[in-house]
Amino acid sequence: MEITRTIKYEADRVKGFGREVMSVPGCEQLESCIQCGTCSGVCPMSIYMEYTPRQIMELTRSDFKKEVLTSNTIWLCVSCYACTTECPREIRITDIIYELKQRAIKEHQYPRGFPIPVLAQEFSQMVYKNGRVAELPLVMKLFLKTNPLAAMGNWRMGMDLMRTGRFTLASERIEAREDLQKMLDAIDAKQG
């Protein structure tokens, strides 16, 4: 039986992280969280998360940046907004989790090959390049990067989609690709 010792010191906190997240417009209400647990109670994914949404809120507020950004919680959130709808303090939990996702990606703090952040990045790159997403090419790319064998496991679905004419590997591109890229780059031009 393995015994581990878990204690958190003040040095484990990244002081100011919570404040930083709460200073993002839309995330201010986190300050008034009373840890009631409604969010975790209604979240369909809380039973799969290593920290429940309530715990992530507390960890964020208490500056435990590493624990938050490396958790699988933020990636398992499906943005169903059930938590935001029920929170008695009107905290926009889903949007805070989006903020945390963005930070995790910026700082490369997620497990290697974990499909969800990889999917998000592949998605964004495809949109940046083409202006639209072609679902099947995107999924193929995702499988290749994370779990090639899984692609094989889905052969029957592939057949079904081909049979019903929903299987296209062609990409979708818009005319104004350059314009779109110009617009997206303009965000980085100034601290935006």
Binding site: C36, G37, G41, R54, E86, P88
Partner: protein
């Protein structure tokens, strides 16, 4: 008496108020400056003017220096104008020869970063006051008599307790020659008792609510000093402290109250019988709609007064409230010789004259339908706390047997959800204070009645009163499952065979750190307390304010919790904010004491800063009359002149400013006085 004939001798005092003023304003410098002003014969600074030595200083100086005007530069007049006026009066000087200057809230506190300019400002303000006070006249305080009778609005435990306290203080001797003193208790329901009459047991003692309440109710009903007006409402209130005229509307019971003996034969003989015509029955309001009542009914067995009433919306002798006279009226036959039923009865109104009013109109329970997530009204076996109170009560719709809506099944597991409607930005931000305690109580009672497994889902367990934490301890020992997790949803969707046919509560057990699904047979919603639906209308009638949450506003949350901003009108109980029975009774006693203090003194003193009309100059144009917010100005048709009722005048100054011929003057704010003050400020360079 004008002081213009004699020499004006002003005494000036500037207060350091410890560091509050002294840290920013250079008080000795101010005193030194003021000493140079005309008519100032004595000018000093002092640490704490409001203290006993400070006041003594004023008193001695008035005598020693023969001062006939006093100015104190210190804090807000709201705080100590009264104190210093008192010091002047104690030395024999008319208190209205006093003027106060605020150099704290208006100067040192707002210019803390600028002491030099702050001192200059203080000098300017002081000069203004000194020039003004020279123009002051001696004024006399008026005494307004207080009518001896009291009106109490609301017959719940607060109203009942206040009524008894006051009524017991009245000694009405028949041969005193004076009219008997009365307490009028007006209650809009057909019986007094309020919400407390519906409870089964009260926390933390588990006293039977009816057992402790009904003796008080009977006492009220029988008390010779209390005139009980049930099924009545206050329609209008006019007047001012000590002299209120209240119009009360009496709704028709269609029963002649004096003739009804409460035998209830009419009820048992009514043509609408539950077995024969259940659809013609009405939902029994007292039992929270859990059962039905006949059109002629008494609200509950211990109702006070013991008089029945007829509901014209349901009675077959009416159609939608209008008398058709089509019913065979077996009730009238059953009533027999007493002849107490009168279908032609109409609403009546009555005017009461009282000196003080206590408003104790109570609360309303939060409507669970506003939280559809909990399934009230969707799933049958979701109950509100008040419904459960009736369910466990021996005189309730099921005789105290706790069964589900099918009328038969006994629940084996029960979940109580705390904070329904409370502590929620979307419904009510406040904590309703009593729900944790009553949830514990209901957990105990339900377990006692059914042996069911109890679950309480809470955010915090709030036990603020005497014996309350110990009560929580008792519940822990009874094996109630306390789960710290606010419930987001109640559903009947089953995930496992054990959940089939049950209501499932999915919640995060935050203390154990896991998400759980708990199937229960019955869900109880601990609904919060909110203001009555018509709180805004009621507050307008009594000239009161409401706070942001909608409860009646007290004059000061700490120091005047039962007073309102209107003199002579008091509030008590849950209408002021959510509270339990001990606090309600305490407030009712407090309000009664405040009312009795006014009554026993017999008068209130009125500030003399009222306006008066110079007869000779009034042209009779009537411009002032509609402008007065207190309807204090009247018109003498004979002389064609307006005149002001000093007792109603609040000194707002509107008429003074509006009079085209300048014939209205306000005491303490005469033109000379105001212009001198302006001159004083501007003159300072």
């Amino acid at each position: 008496m004008s002081a213009k004939q004699e020499e004006i001798r002003i005494g000036f005092y500037v207060c350091h108020c410890g560091h509050n003023i002294g840290k920013t304003v250079n008080c000795p410098e101010v005193a030194k400056f003021v000493a140079t002003l005309p008519h100032v014969v004595h000018s000093v600074d002092y640490k704490y003017m409001c203290s006993d030595p400070g006041q003594e200083l004023i008193r001695l100086d008035i005598q020693q220096h023969k001062l006939n005007r006093v100015v104190v530069a210190s804090c807000s007049p709201l705080l100590h104008e009264h104190t210093f006026r008192g010091a002047c009066a104690a030395a024999g000087l008319n208190p209205y020869y006093f003027q106060m200057v605020n150099i704290r809230e208006h100067d040192s506190w707002v210019h803390a970063d600028n002491p030099v300019e702050a001192t200059e400002k203080a000098k300017a303000l002081a000069q203004a006051a000194v020039e003004r006070v020279a123009q002051h006249k001696a004024l006399e305080v008026k005494r307004v008599p207080i009518h001896q009778d009291v009106l109490i609005v609301g017959g719940g435990i607060a109203g009942i307790h206040a009524a008894l306290t006051i009524a017991n203080s009245f000694e009405n001797t028949p041969d005193s020659g004076k009219p008997p003193r009365k307490v009028y208790l007006v209650e809009r329901e057909p019986s007094i008792g309020g919400h407390m009459a519906k409870f089964d047991k009260t926390f933390p003692t588990l006293d039977c609510a009816a057992c402790i309440l009904t003796p008080k109710m009977s006492e009220v009903g029988a008390h010779e000093n209390i005139e009980l007006m049930t099924y009545s409402e206050v329609a209008k209130m006019d007047g001012y402290v000590g002299n209120y005229t209240v119009t009360v509307r009496h709704k028709p019971r269609y029963i002649i109250a004096d003739l009804c003996t409460g035998c209830q034969d009419c009820i048992s003989h009514c043509v609408v019988q539950p077995e024969k015509s259940p659809k013609l029955m009405a939902a029994n309001e007292f039992n929270e709609g859990l059962d039905k009542r006949r059109p002629v009914y008494i609200p509950f067995p211990q109702a006070t007064p013991q008089i029945v009433l007829i509901d014209p919306m349901v009675c077959l002798n009416f159609r939608k409230g209008v008398l058709t006279d089509k019913c065979k009226k077996s009730c009238v036959t059953a009533c027999g010789e007493k002849k107490a039923i009168d279908f032609t009865q109409k609403e009546t109104t009555e005017e009461l004259k009282v000196g003080t009013i206590i408003v104790a109109t109570g609360f309303k329970a939060f409507d669970s339908r506003r939280k559809p997530e909990y399934g009230y009204g969707v799933y049958p076996n979701v109950y509100t706390a008040l419904e459960v109170e009736r369910l466990v009560n021996a005189s309730g719709p099921t005789g105290g047997h706790v069964v589900l809506r099918d009328g038969r099944t006994k629940p084996k597991t029960i979940g109580i959800i705390h904070c329904v409607g409370s502590r929620d930005e979307r419904t009510h931000k406040w904590c309703s204070r009593v729900c944790c305690m009553y949830s514990l109580k209901l957990a105990h009672l339900l377990h006692e009645h059914t042996g069911a497994e109890m679950y309480n889902f809470y955010i915090d367990i709030r036990t603020p009163g005497k014996g309350y934490e110990e009560f929580y301890g008792k519940l822990l020992e009874e094996g109630v499952n306390f789960i710290r997790g606010r419930v987001g949803e109640v559903t009947d969707w089953a995930m496992t065979p054990e959940e089939e046919g049950k209501l499932v509560i999915r919640v995060e057990d935050t203390l154990a750190g896991m998400v759980r699904r708990i199937p229960v047979d019955m869900v109880v919603l601990a609904t919060g307390l909110e203001p009555q639906a018509d709180a805004q209308e009621v507050r307008r009638i009594f000239n009161m304010s409401c706070g942001t949450e909608g409860f009646f506003l007290e004059r000061h949350p700490k120091l005047a919790p039962v007073n309102t901003f209107t003199d002579g009108i008091f509030i008590a109980g849950a209408c002021q904010g959510p509270r339990d029975i001990p606090d309600t009774v305490a407030q009712a006693g407090a309000a009664a004491a405040e009312a009795m203090a006014l009554i026993s003194r017999g008068f209130v003193e009125q500030e003399p800063n009222t306006a008066f009309i110079l007869d000779a100059e009034c042209s009779g144009c009537k411009s002032c009359i509609p402008l007065c917010p207190y309807t204090a100005i009247l018109f003498d048709e004979a002389r064609k002149k307006a005149y002001i009722n000093e007792a109603l005048c609040k000194g707002c100054g509107t008429c003074v400013a509006s009079c085209p011929s300048g014939s209205i003057v306000q005491n303490l704010f005469e033109d000379d006085q105001v212009f001198s003050e302006i001159h004083g400020v501007l003159a300072y360079d």
